[in-house]
Symmetry: C2
Subunit: 182 residues, 2 copies
């Protein structure tokens, strides 16, 4: 299978897909990868809704912010993963929040997301992480009960383009020795 | 190099380290991996402070919550990475927040963190993600200016133990078809 190094450097955000299906086996590998992500106190607050139904996907697409570049991905991918989180676990100790930040579940879902997107890439699939949408509307569409939040949507499929990598900050711009130097 | 599959499944949270140093080359590979993480609108809000100074690390260790199981990791690892985020970029459009959540930088740092920890593992190193500590005190210790937040600390080094994997939820417990079924 693809090396970690190659997966990390070769993954791109894919926003247009072919008609080709994603197999159950491919999905199983992506979900198993998510499963092995670390999380706050091993709390594993992630939930994944696999949306294949075309009508539901249309509704999900309509929740995107205007001019969201991921619009065509929602439309052309054979499926969309909705990543959701159970509240009151990540960042908490016995149900009480113990960090400065109130949305620690975002960090844990980021960890699991990277496992999913790297695995998709290693399987020859493309994906893109969509974050700008009406979160409460998506919650309603996929039937999330109270105590859960929809966080991101990830269309997955076979890329029909090979985008160049957007420019990255150089390592020297974000790494500091012992103290932050702005 | 190690396969992605093996890296994802073999990584463990390591909380005790040997004296052996982490080389500059190993760090460079970890930081380059962080660099290739996706982020909100490619905003790349991450900053990494590499703390090797023993006195500073002692101060960082003292910020941990009581009985934090990562205490010995802060002490025995040859270095601690402090992951920080610049505010007003992730989750924002032209400086204005556009999502339901106010701490989207946590998600982006989660994505970058997983690249770092997987790469550490592939290089034969261990790491653990520490999140329960006095964030504002760490901010002060590493000299973060206004507009930045300390998010996590990641001790990195050579493992002196091989912990078993903590139990994970089964895929069937967190994956749902088309609609959430609680």
């Amino acid at each position: 299978m693809m090396s970690l190094h190659e997966a990390i450097r070769g993954r791109r955000s894919i926003r247009r897909f072919t008609d080709q299906e994603v197999t159950g086996e491919q999905l199983a590998l992506m979900f198993d990868a998510a499963r092995w992500a670390p999380s706050w106190g091993n709390s594993q607050c992630w939930e994944i809704i696999v949306v294949r139904d075309r009508e539901t996907r249309k509704k999900l697409q309509e929740t995107l912010t205007p001019r969201n570049p991921a619009g065509p991905a929602m439309d052309t991918a054979p499926l969309v993963l909705v990543l959701a989180a159970g509240m009151g676990k990540s960042g908490c100790y016995k149900g009480e929040r113990v960090t400065k930040f109130s949305e620690w579940f975002l960090y844990d879902l980021g960890l699991a997301t990277q496992n999913i997107c790297l695995t998709a890439h290693a399987l020859g699939l493309g994906s893109v992480i969509v974050g700008a949408f009406a979160h409460d509307r998506v919650k309603e569409i996929v039937g999330l009960p109270a105590g859960y939040e929809a966080v991101t949507m990830i269309p997955v499929g076979h890329a029909d383009h090979r985008p160049a990598a957007p420019k990255r900050r150089e390592v020297a711009e974000f790494v500091h020795d012992d103290r932050f130097l702005g």
